[in-house]
Amino acid sequence: MIQKKICLLGASSVGKTSLVKQFVEGIFSEKYLTTIGVKIDKKVVTLAEQQIQFMLWDMEGNDSYNVFQERYLRGAAAYIIVVDQTRASSIREGIDIHTLARQVTDCPAILTVNKNDLPATWHIEDRENEGYQSLFDLQFSTSAKTGANVEEMFVALAKLLLKG
């Protein structure tokens, strides 16, 4: 079976862990996340022709106290930058993380604007954010709470990786 390592990155509290939880039934407890900064789950995505197993590395959120842990990006087939549409600062933090990540890997990057079940305080289409869109291979608006677009995002990622 094809396996791929996928990393989830983003500022604190943007919903990375919730996204993974929505996508898989997690088996490892949350304490791993705070102990070593990453929690790993797996999920098999079935496409029409074949199956692909994602190893999802859910990385601890970055803020001024937590430095970006680039070591976990090693060998990743793709990474997902998660941002929060209720917090305008999260897109800037996300772009910062993306810039750091780009220094160690050139694998496909996906932007996920999460919490679309809540009112947005900013939009990716806003003029100041326009330039960011071209940095990413794929872009989604999701809700870990309602599950909107979550499955679709991972399926699209699977197709992208298999095509490559």
Partner: protein, 593 residues
């Protein structure tokens, strides 16, 4: 000066290269070509030795060849099965025998082990301790039985942390191996970064240990081999892991470098990883083959138990058949027989009082009556032998009578007075003998009643009884018919007998009597005709009686015609009898008065 020297050096290098090209050809093509020509011969000369040497050095040849052999066999089985069958045929028989023998021996061994572990004190202790330490019994038993044992081996891609292959001792718990390997990689990275050594290479996790469990990690440039070991792992395991990781790198270097997430290319590494599943038992097995005493004992007990049950069943069946013979005894019916144990038998029977006693029958058949609970209820049997016995018991009270049996008919003859005859008749009727059916009393003669009569009261009672019986006789005719049929004949015969019995008693009691014969008819049709037919019926009955020998002077015939009583009048086509009697002595007394 130095510049000249370097220019000169470069010049000579260039010339040397030209000479090299001339001699060896471009890219050593002449040398390669000359080798290629003889390559086959050269390799053929040394291939066997080379394979032998390499195999001696690191056992890697057979692991490389094994997949080819497997594929070839598979191909042969699929495409040339006939040939395979004929090649294997001579050894199939012994293979099957060996396999069955191995299976049985393994089964016995496992059963014995199971019993030993489950039933012995050691086994129970282990169970308790396993529960206390919160591990499964199998794990605890393994930790007690083995000095060490490799439970799992993982092959992990170093860059991505993805699982390339895994082997487990029991082929279970493989499902989370990929997450375990990813987590292990993350932990490894975490440790490597946390204890970063500025001067040298990154720190690398070598082992993770708990009280009973060890993860041994052997890193290679592209992949890690990790062994999960219970107990105390010796250096041997580490050496084996090192050897395996080296082998994998030498055989799969290209695949490891080009790894894109597809781990199918590493399926063949299973053979190499299997070599790492090492273990050592605590107590070395002795050369002498262990005899599975527990299994043998259990088998023996089971056989003994089954044997006991079968013997018991056969014995019970025999006893049952023996006791059921009682059912064939005349006058005994076995309702229920329940053998709980050989000394606890319940026998529920119906028994004729004249039949053989149950206890006697049991003792005559060598059965201990103490073992029986007998529930006995009485009934009257109609078995010929019982009837005969019963009749003999009754007739024993009449020693003057002689008894004869004709088939199952009782024939009585002799002299008997009227009262005793009556008693005998009654007793025999209760005992199942009916005159005319299985009782013949034609030859039974009455003694002269007169001297035998003991008292006037008894005679008077018998007299009243007989006239009562006579009054009870009634002939019923069909519509417009006055003919005496066979049934009526039988009734008239009985009537005749009563009259003959009555005569001596009447004489003794000094009573004059006469027989009234009363004919009647229903109320349909003409009254005159009815009067005639009623009289005719009475006359016909009287004729029969007169022919039998009854004195004509004692008979008075009357035709009553229609009997006008509601509910009777429409069907009263009868002849009735009545005795009219006058006590002479009372008449005399009246005159005297």
């Amino acid at each position: 000066m130095s510049k000249d020297a370097s220019t000169e050096h470069a010049e000579s290098e260039k010339q040397l290269e030209q000479v090299r090209n001339l001699l060896l050809g471009k890219d050593n093509s002449r040398v390669t070509a000359s080798f290629e020509k003889d390559a086959r011969r050269i390799v053929a000369d040394v291939i066997t030795e080379a394979l032998h040497d390499r195999q001696q050095r690191d056992n890697s040849v057979d692991k490389v060849i094994q997949p080819f052999v497997e594929d070839s066999v598979k191909h042969s089985v699929e495409h040339n099965s006939e040939q395979m069958v004929s090649s294997l045929y001579p050894i199939v028989g012994s293979l099957v025998r060996k396999s069955v023998a191995a299976f049985l021996s393994d089964f016995m061994e496992k059963t014995n082990q199971l019993l030993e572990n489950s039933l012995t004190i050691k086994g129970l202790k282990w169970r308790i301790k396993a529960r206390q330490s919160g591990v499964s019994y199998a794990q605890y038993a393994a930790s007690q039985t083995f000095v060490y044992r490799v439970e799992h081996v993982f092959l992990i891609h170093r860059e991505t942390g993805l699982l390339l292959n895994t082997v487990a001792l029991d082929n279970e718990n493989k499902s989370d191996a990929d997450i375990v390997s990813a987590m292990l990689t993350a932990i490894n990275d975490f440790v490597g970064d946390s204890f970063l050594n500025d001067d040298g290479p990154k720190e690398q996790l070598q082992a993770v240990s708990t009280d009973n469990f060890n993860l041994l990690i052997k890193p290679g440039p592209c992949a890690l081999v990790v062994a999960a070991v219970t107990g105390n792992p010796p250096q041997k395991i580490s050496d084996q892991l090192q050897l395996t990781v080296e082998n994998i790198h030498s055989l799969y270097l290209d695949e490891l470098n080009a790894f894109d997430g597809n781990n199918q290319r590493f399926e063949q590494t299973e053979n190499l990883l299997q070599d790492c599943l090492l273990s050592e038992q605590k107590s070395k097995p002795t050369d002498k083959k262990k005899i599975p005493w527990f299994a043998i004992a259990l088998l023996f007990i089971i056989i003994l138990f089954i044997g006991y049950k079968i013997t018991n069943w056969i014995k019970t069946e025999k006893l049952h058949t023996k006791i059921m013979q009682l059912d064939a005894v005349p006058g005994v019916i076995v309702k229920q027989l329940n053998i709980r144990q050989f000394d606890d038998i319940t026998l529920d029977v119906l028994r004729d009082p004249d039949a053989a006693s149950i206890n006697q029958w049991l003792s005559s058949h060598d059965l201990n009556e103490q073992h029986f609970t007998i529930i006995e209820r009485n009934y009257y049997a109609l078995d010929p032998s019982i009837l005969r016995q019963r009749a003999q018991r009754i007739i024993a009270a009449y020693p003057d009578l002689s008894v004869k049996w004709q088939d199952s008919n009782l024939i009585l003859s002799g002299l008997l007075d009227i009262t005793k005859k009556e008693q005998l008749h009654n007793a025999l009727a209760i005992a199942g003998f009916t005159a005319g059916q299985n009782l013949i009393t034609d030859k039974l003669q009455l003694t002269s009643a007169l001297p035998m009569l003991e008292s006037r009261e008894i005679n008077q009672q018998v007299f009243d009884d007989i006239i009562g019986r006579i009054g009870a006789i009634q002939l019923n005719f069909p519509v417009a018919n006055e003919v005496i049929n066979a049934e009526m004949h039988a009734s008239l015969q009985r009537l005749y007998q009563y009259i003959t019995q009555l005569e001596p008693i009447a004489t003794a009691l000094d009573i004059n009597f006469g027989l009234l014969i009363l004919g009647s008819s229903d109320n349909t049709g003409n009254k005159t005709t009815n009067d005639i037919i009623s009289l005719q019926r009475a006359k016909n009955a009287a004729d029969i009686l007169l022919r039998k020998g009854i004195n004509k002077d004692k008979v008075f015939v009357v035709g009553l015609g229609q009997i006008e009583i509601p509910g009777i009048s429409s069907t009263a086509r009868t002849v009735m009898f009545n005795i009219i009697h006058i006590n002479q002595s009372s008449i005399t007394n009246d005159i005297k008065q």
